[in-house]
């Protein structure tokens, strides 16, 4: 390699180091690929240099944007702070990670917010109640996930105890007997995987939001890998990736850091709109189940909620709404957002006390 070639390699590697600092993964194999790619481009002006590295290094649109920004910073010294994204990625980029003092644990055990009903001496820690008179929570969640995870598909697959005869396979199997169908191969309906989309309210009115639901969400997300979990107040944050870590405590800490809008106002309609325009459109309607966890207190307009709920209903198999207030003796559907949403909900489930948690688990199992 020529001298200038070596210089380019050194310069590129320096840039990769910068990318890694910015949180963009550049594994050695990729950087080798990128360098190899540089050798096949004849006239290497800056534009092609940038493009060549980019198509080799990035793996998503977001990474593309990070790449371009770091490229400009690194080679032109431009630092455009306006484009630093919000959330954890922005924090990482600005080296401010860890500044969030709030963790989820603190949040959920914080003082109840203004919407807490005064009825019954309601304990915040429903987990304690759960443990006392039921099978262990983990087992319950596992069982639930197993039941939720699949449903019969229209397609079939080989199954010795299947109900129908698979003619094609039978013929193949019996080629050795000529065309006499001596032993038949059977098939059964394939199991189709359910995709769970959980949308969870973390706004002020949900300050009493209970650890049980949190644990439930976490458990379902971890057991059903293709599920998505989002939290919302006035913003929506996808916390799926944060829940992938193995330990519950780590997940909670991760979520606490990522979500900066705990205990804000509530925009249920906006959150549903986000679902409708994104995630929900992704999978097939028949395999998606949406679980909304919210008390339905909303700062937005009720018609907006109704409108988006109607949209949502057309694109998913089931809508489940878990209302943590439902189950209290004095519970009535008073919240305007809740009223607007209810006509579109397939299963409306409580999560107020130990008894209603049993109802919840049973209800989820029947979906």
């Amino acid at each position: 390699m020529s001298a200038s070639g070596a210089a380019i390699v050194a310069r590129t590697l320096g840039f990769f180091a910068r990318l890694r600092d910015a949180g963009l993964p550049v594994p050695p194999a990729r950087s080798v690929d990128a360098l190899k790619a540089l050798t096949v481009i004849d006239s290497l002006d800056e534009r092609d240099y940038r493009l060549t590295l980019r198509v080799n290094v990035v793996a998503s649109r977001e990474q593309e944007q990070v790449f371009d920004r770091i490229f400009d910073e690194h080679f032109h010294g431009a630092s455009d702070t306006r484009r630093v994204p919000r959330g954890i990625r922005g924090e990482v980029m600005q080296g401010r990670l860890g500044h969030h003092e709030k963790t989820l644990d603190q949040e959920v055990t914080a003082d109840p917010g203004q919407f807490t009903p005064q009825d019954v001496g309601r304990e915040l820690d429903l987990l304690a109640r759960w443990d006392s008179d039921a099978p262990p929570l983990e087992a319950v969640i596992r069982d639930l996930a197993r039941r939720l995870a699949t449903r019969p598909s229209r397609r079939t697959q080989a199954d010795r105890r299947g109900a129908r005869v698979d003619l094609r396979r039978s013929i193949r199997r019996n080629t050795r007997h000529g065309l006499e169908l001596v032993d038949l191969t059977r098939s059964a309906r394939r199991q189709r995987r359910t995709r769970l989309v959980m949308l969870c309210d973390v706004s002020g009115s949900m300050d009493t939001f209970n650890p049980f639901l949190l644990r439930l969400m976490l458990g379902l997300q971890q057991l059903m890998k293709n599920s998505r979990t989002l939290v919302f107040s006035t913003h929506v944050t996808d916390i799926t990736a944060a829940l992938r870590t193995r330990s519950v405590a780590d997940s909670l800490r991760e979520v606490g850091m990522q979500v900066s809008h705990w205990s804000g106002g509530t925009d249920i309609g906006g959150a549903l709109a986000r679902l409708n325009r994104g995630i929900v459109r992704e999978g097939s309607a028949g395999s998606t189940v949406v679980i909304v966890i919210s008390d339905g207190y909303d700062n937005g307009r009720a018609e907006h909620v109704a409108h988006e709920m109607a949209q949502l209903q057309r694109h998913v198999r089931k809508i489940v709404w878990i209302n943590p207030m439902y189950g209290a003796t004095t519970f009535q559907v008073r919240a305007a957002g809740m009223k607007a949403a209810l006509p579109y909900v397939d299963h409306f489930l409580p999560a107020f006390d130990a008894r209603s948690l049993q109802v919840l688990v049973r209800g989820l199992g029947m979906i």
């Binding site: 198509v55 998503s60 649109r61 000529g178 906006g270 709109a273 907006h304």
Partner: protein, 323 residues
């Protein structure tokens, strides 16, 4: 019903003069433009790298931005067959790779029963190439040339994760083993283009194997150029008008934003109707070409179209309050 299909668009024909090699970036752009596809530099460079490094390309982007079209045009540019694998939930190796034609095999056996000579060679002939159904992946690998085929793996995000893993194996060495026959190794590794609407994140390993490109909606200038390339009969001012209108429409919070496919449909519609000017009435009358959701059409009806056509996107007023 056969859900997997691959189409051999044209038989390759050998030409002596022009070597169909993607070498120079601007000439790639030129050749794409000649066939009506406006390729930006990033795409052209990616295509060149794909050829030189023999890596698949992963194109991600919204529906209707012309991802699939890249493969079709590439096949035309290279004058080579386009082999297409449309992915869907439950797609498995049988449908993607190969399958034995059992019915024909049985027929063959039956016929051999009446012929002693054929019976003797039956075993040798029954797993013959004649009875092998080449599904898209195998077809692409076995493509005899002279130039590599273009393999389009469309909407990979719809397939299951297991299939991704399987694909990874095929794409890493471009060879396939059929136990009864042996291993097929690609004479010329095909150009592989994967597209994804990003309905789910793909496996990291698969992404790492590919060159990645996000395909965005085009800017106004590029969109006008696309319209004119495809519909040379259209008036240039009208094309520019259509392009700017599309840009404005895409800023509205529609349930499904119109893509380039819609732009071209709309342009064709206006051309066919002999309309020379985009007015609010024209927009409303032809809204069905652009927007495919009832709610979106209602939203368009509610919008201030005079201002919209002046290039001003209405705020998300209709239903969504912002705090």
């Amino acid at each position: 019903m056969q859900s997997t299909h691959y189409c051999l668009h044209r038989m390759p024909e050998v030409r002596m003069s022009d070597p169909f090699v993607l070498d120079d970036i601007s000439s790639i752009q030129q050749r794409f433009a000649d066939l009506g596809y406006v390729a930006d530099r990033a795409l052209a460079l990616t295509l060149k790298l794909a050829g030189d490094l023999q890596k698949p390309i992963l194109l991600e982007g919204e529906a209707g931005v012309g991802k699939t079209e890249v493969a079709k045009v590439l096949a035309d540019v290279l004058d080579t067959p386009l082999i297409r694998l449309q992915c869907y939930e439950g797609l498995d190796a049988n449908h993607a790779l190969y399958e034995w034609n059992y019915a024909r095999q049985i027929l063959h056996i039956r016929m051999a029963e009446h012929d002693a000579a054929a019976r003797a060679t039956l075993e040798a002939t029954i797993f013959d190439d004649r009875f092998l159904l080449n599904r898209p992946l195998l077809a692409a690998i076995r493509h005899p040339g002279p130039r590599p085929a273009v393999l389009l793996i469309d909407e990979i995000d719809r397939a299951d994760e297991e299939f991704e893993a399987f694909l990874l194996e095929v794409l890493s060495d471009y060879q396939v083993t059929v136990p009864e026959i042996g291993t097929f190794k690609a004479v010329q590794p095909p150009y592989v283009i994967l597209t994804s609407n990003r309905t789910r994140e793909l496996n990291d390993a698969l992404k790492r194997r590919c060159l990645y490109l996000w395909v965005d909606y085009p800017g106004a200038d590029k969109e006008r150029e696309i319209i004119l390339r495809r519909l040379p009969a259209l008036d240039a001012t009208l094309a520019a008008r259509i392009a700017t209108t599309m840009q404005t429409l895409r800023r509205i919070d529609f349930y499904k934003r119109p893509g380039i496919a819609e732009t071209l449909d709309w342009s064709r519609a206006l051309l066919g109707l002999g309309i020379a000017e985009v007015t609010p009435d024209v927009l409303l009358d032809t809204a069905g070409v652009l927007l495919k959701h009832r709610d979106d059409i209602v939203r368009l009806h509610d919008a201030d179209l005079e201002r919209l056509l002046a290039g001003e996107a209405p705020a998300t007023t209709t239903s969504h309050q912002v705090y």
